[in-house]
Symmetry: C2
Subunit: 675 residues, 2 copies
């Protein structure tokens, strides 16, 4: 058996279809010649003391169905037996009937494919769940052989780098129905993430049924919320897939929806309604009234029973100091209790809430703001402010996870998130003991500009790259390999039922008649939504339609990234053929952008994209000129003029940007300056 | 208001995006200028005595959700009120709390769009369901105006041509899970079909839970069957959408799955197992034993209660005479009872079964074979043999529906099914009274070569064209208009959740790595599955994988049909530009077929398609040559050689045919013969 390091392995096969499409990359992969055939005679066995865990049985049933779906081979549903000659033999050493799953539960596993079978070994059931995902990723169509599918021979040993690997999902700004939540959990499990942090309340909507305080869902939502029985079902669904559910009820800020339902909770006496627009938070709970804590005692007691996880997220972010300090009765309370400022008042509030949670056997989790003096060390800090803030907390002895750098709603490329690491930057300067306090990270998806329709495309496939950051060894940093595998995993995820491609495809079909969808797709293939908070500055709200071109494209334009790589290759080793290829590509985009003008003029939802088409044509022309001048010489002043023109042609219209602009600039920059 | 005939209307707007995308075409459409805007303020009201029908309420809720999905506009869920100023005002004249729905229930409706609202009027609830589908089809993106959606002003009056408009769906050969059945019902309702004829048993599997005879599902299936509670839920689901569910339990032939479970029912004493291969039927029930009828009395009594429809289908097709006449005890019985032949014995059996059904208040339905002397006139005959057989039954006073010509499993183009009419051919010679006995038709989908994965693509969009044949006036015959509207409706159906495009797209992604799916799709765009029963002759069975290219393409290649039309246009009015366009298209297909050879060589499931790629290149070259000789002169003997070469290049490989061949032949034929 030939032993190769993971990275060596990937490099060895280059970017061919033969690259093992594993994401996250396992801790170690040894490959050997040969393969285990997957046929309709496929069988599965389970043994070991841990085989009786209900998660194993349900995972086995799912694996059979998914294998059939992936391959198109009719693989019969079967009750796993302990038969010694099965194709896939799952051995789980220890019985571990844990519910709920806990932080740090053993997730390690190994996979050996040899002869005519695969052996999946795990210490505990959770590891087997992780290994089954790797097994399914390994199933590939045979190359140059008899028609069918197989798993390559080899040996994989794997365990996670961080124990806390999550997604924080906002369902307040736009509600995500149950099927979307379940799909998301399937996706998390597929890429070995283990936490769904469910942001269940915010100014714009309270999304959980409270039986004790039913006005919360009645007046705090537009009728869209999860019932308690639905939540219980989701928790079981997630547990079966190795995913913990952490609820977040944001307090004392981001709580207008509560205050609309129970005005007495509010700091101010002004009546509040659920917020219908997206923007700055407004209402804040009153931390000075004992009735507030009585309410929270009742509410948190109820929710602590509903959500079994040890951790409970109270938000705590972005409290408006003014809402408090404008109120005379709060100023008086602060004086009387020697609370110097709003932060001190929030610290007081947090400590009271922490005590309620502790009484309910919960550890408190919150955003950076809960890191304040005197708060018990049992809490967990989720950092949206960044590595510095996280490192400071670790130095003070607090456990934390990183979310800054993983905000999927900012429409950044996968590579940008991939480059962020909970233990880099300021955290790299921590002592080994302090570093241990940084236990992982969470991607975050805020839903102001995402809807139930396109949520999959906002999450996937980028979330898989973040999952690799949290799971794989810290030496896993090859961006080219990441993108190659991400592309395969992107399609693999659709076998599980994720809709990141199909949902956008339907949205394009809404925008254009069938015979124009192809050209529209070509046009859109080099466009990306504007980044960061630029689009948030527009006026959006509950009645806004997210049915424009910017809503129907992925955050990252693969075609533009590939073009940039082609430009880099060409500039590194110029050739006439290389120039022709780039020129042909630019020409095709340009011609298409001209050809679809009548479509954009006619279809009312596309008309706003007309200037984008014009700008794309201009960018392509600049690229073409640059290629000409690279081979000859540019007129005096051309580079400066071209750079200015490119800047003009990079104006954002319709919340879109043209993603080939940086590559065009590279071409312009490479033109020799005229004397 | 400008009044136009339906066909005139379509022609008036030509084939532009402005053609109203209605399918089936309504009985009359009058259009006027202007439109009703669809915005997030959309509201819906219900009034009239029929407003209390539960179907209306559930249809209203669905309409709101579908409207939101189609447009991407957040339209709030709302309880329909009687508010006078709603955007969509549904008026249902008569209360009609009918369950089950019955043959001939009033389905007429009218739609008036004027000012700022749409009025949907119907005599009875069923008509309102039909009208809501038309309303949703009318919602289109604004053209050249403010961004958004609208319904054009106008007046539609509509009712069906035939009262029985169905789909016969085989779930024995390949089981279709519940979600597939529900999706199919959604599709039927969307195109105004009103019968799902559920072929629930056959040699290969018994698909219903019997509580009286549980061995039927236990030993008569592979574990895949519908429980009674699932069936009840499907019946309610269908009723809410205006679709009747007619069960078929095929007897006395096509019944091996019963005989495997209850051998005593069999004509022969040889033990039988559920059939795992697809082919000729084997087991036949024994019509000479009283125990057979006692069993059927018990079974049909149970099923008559489960399925509420007045009609009950007993199959009755393709009984092997030999299985009976080979048995001495059956021959003796026939002699003793003066039954001259197997047909007479089956007639005897049918009459006994009909009596059992009549006792259970059911009307018997069956395939052509049940039309035998002395059978009561209350039965309904479904003709798979053709119009002659149907006409003969009508002349004898029997009611019938046509299925011959509508077999979707034979992979014929929509135009071919569209040309078949229950009242053409032999039926055209019937008297008006006899014609009234022909009450409609049913498409049929047999599942030997279709699976749960690609069933939507086997049914849709072709089934929509058949639905138009059954619903629209018999003057609706413009094939060009049909295809234009079919294309739009094809995509519209995906908003409802049908997967005819997305499922095949996923299957292509199984066959090729992502970066090769585009070229594979281009290659596949001119391919079709072989027609009729050619593919059935291969050896397929329960363990066959239907994951090849032939399984991942639609029955009809739109690109090939469009090319044929382009060739026809060119030959009618030749021009250099027209020749260039054809040549460029052929060149693109040819180059692509060459470029994907390495892919086909490498990926094991695609290797069988290599000769197809070669043949496609050859066909393109022949077309190119023909275009050259059309402009100049062909060498002596070229036409004959070219025709022979085209025939060679039309050999079927991998169950595929190249659908541009007829157009290439047209080009060759048009070359002037050399002297």
């Amino acid at each position: 058996m030939k032993v190769r390091s993971v990275l060596g392995f990937v490099i060895c096969f280059g970017l061919s279809a033969q690259t093992l499409p594993l994401m996250p990359l396992p801790a170690s992969v040894h490959e050997s010649p040969g393969a285990v055939a997957i046929t309709s005679a496929f069988t599965l066995s389970v043994s070991g003391a841990g085989a009786t865990d209900p998660r194993i049985k349900s995972a086995a049933v799912r694996t059979l169905a998914r294998l059939a779906r992936q391959t198109g081979i009719p693989i019969a549903a079967q009750t796993p037996t302990t038969a010694p000659n099965a194709t896939l033999r799952i051995v789980v050493e220890r019985r571990d009937h844990k519910a709920p799953q806990r932080l740090g539960d053993n997730e390690s596993y190994s996979l050996q494919a040899a002869g005519d079978h695969v052996t999946l070994s795990a210490d505990e059931p959770l590891g087997a769940l992780r290994g089954l995902e790797t097994f399914l990723q390994l199933v590939q169509q045979n190359q140059l052989g008899s028609p069918g599918f197989s798993v390559p021979h080899g040996d994989i040993r794997d365990q996670p780098r961080f124990p806390w690997r999550g997604l924080s999902l906002d369902v307040s700004r736009h509600f995500i129905p149950l099927d979307g939540i379940e799909r998301t959990i399937d996706g998390l499990a597929a890429v070995k993430l283990n936490v769904l942090h469910w942001h269940l309340s915010d100014d714009q909507g309270f999304r959980v049924e409270s039986r004790k305080y039913p006005r919360l869902q009645k007046y705090g939502s537009d009728g869209l919320f999860y019932t308690q029985s639905e939540i219980r079902a989701v928790i079981v669904y997630a547990w079966e897939r190795g995913v913990r559910i952490i609820p977040e009820f944001d307090m004392p800020g981001h709580s207008t929806s509560w205050l609309a339902a129970y005005p007495n909770l509010s700091s101010s006496s002004a009546p509040l309604n659920v917020v219908h627009e997206f923007g700055d938070p407004t209402g804040v709970m009153d931390p000075t009234k004992e009735s507030t804590y009585r309410f929270l005692e009742g509410f948190l007691g109820e929710m602590a029973k509903l959500f079994p996880d040890e951790y409970f997220h109270i938000g705590g972010d972005e409290v408006s100091a003014k809402v408090w300090t404008n109120e005379p009765h709060i100023r008086e309370y602060m004086t009387a209790h020697h609370l110097a400022n709003a932060a001190a008042l929030q610290a007081y509030f947090n400590k009271r809430v922490e005590k309620i949670l502790a009484k309910n056997h919960k550890r408190m989790e919150g955003w950076d703001e809960i890191f304040q003096p005197d708060i018990p060390k049992t809490i967990l800090i989720q950092s949206w402010r960044g590595e510095k803030s996280l490192a400071a907390a670790a130095r003070a002895g607090y456990t934390g996870i990183l979310s800054a750098g993983y905000y999927l709603d900012l429409m950044q490329p996968a590579s940008q998130h991939y480059a962020v690491d909970p233990l880099r930057g300021e955290a790299a300067t921590l002592t080994p003991e302090e570093k241990k306090l940084i236990i992982g990270g969470e991607a975050a998806m805020w839903e102001e500009l995402a809807t139930a329709e396109n949520i999959d495309a906002k999450l996937w496939p980028r979330l898989a790259a973040i999952a690799e950051r949290f799971w794989s060894p810290d030496t896993t940093n090859d961006v080219t390999s990441m993108y190659t595998r991400l592309d395969t995993v992107n399609h693999w995820l659709e076998w599980i039922g994720l809709q990141q491609r199909s949902s956008l495809d339907l949205m394009l079909h809404r925008l254009a008649p069938t015979d124009s969808v192809g050209p529209l797709r070509t046009f859109a293939s080099v466009l990306e939504p504007v980044k960061g908070y630029e689009r948030h500055r527009n006026h959006y709200g509950a009645s806004s339609a997210f049915n424009r071109l910017v809503d129907a494209i992925p955050p990252e334009a693969d075609a533009a990234r590939n073009f940039r790589k082609a430009v880099e290759s060409y500039l590194a080793a110029p050739s006439a053929a290389g120039a022709d290829r780039l020129r042909n590509q630019l020409d095709a985009w340009s011609k298409n952008a001209i050809a679809i003008r009548p479509l954009l003029q006619r279809e009312s939802l596309l008309t706003e994209d007309l200037p984008v088409a014009g700008a794309l044509t201009a960018q392509c022309q600049l690229g073409d000129d640059a290629l000409t001048y690279l081979a000859s010489a540019a007129p005096a002043g051309w580079k400066m003029r071209a750079t200015a023109s490119l800047k003009d042609a990079s104006t954002h219209y319709a919340s879109l940007l043209i993603a080939i602009a940086p590559a065009i600039q590279n071409l312009i920059d490479a033109v020799p300056a005229a004397d």
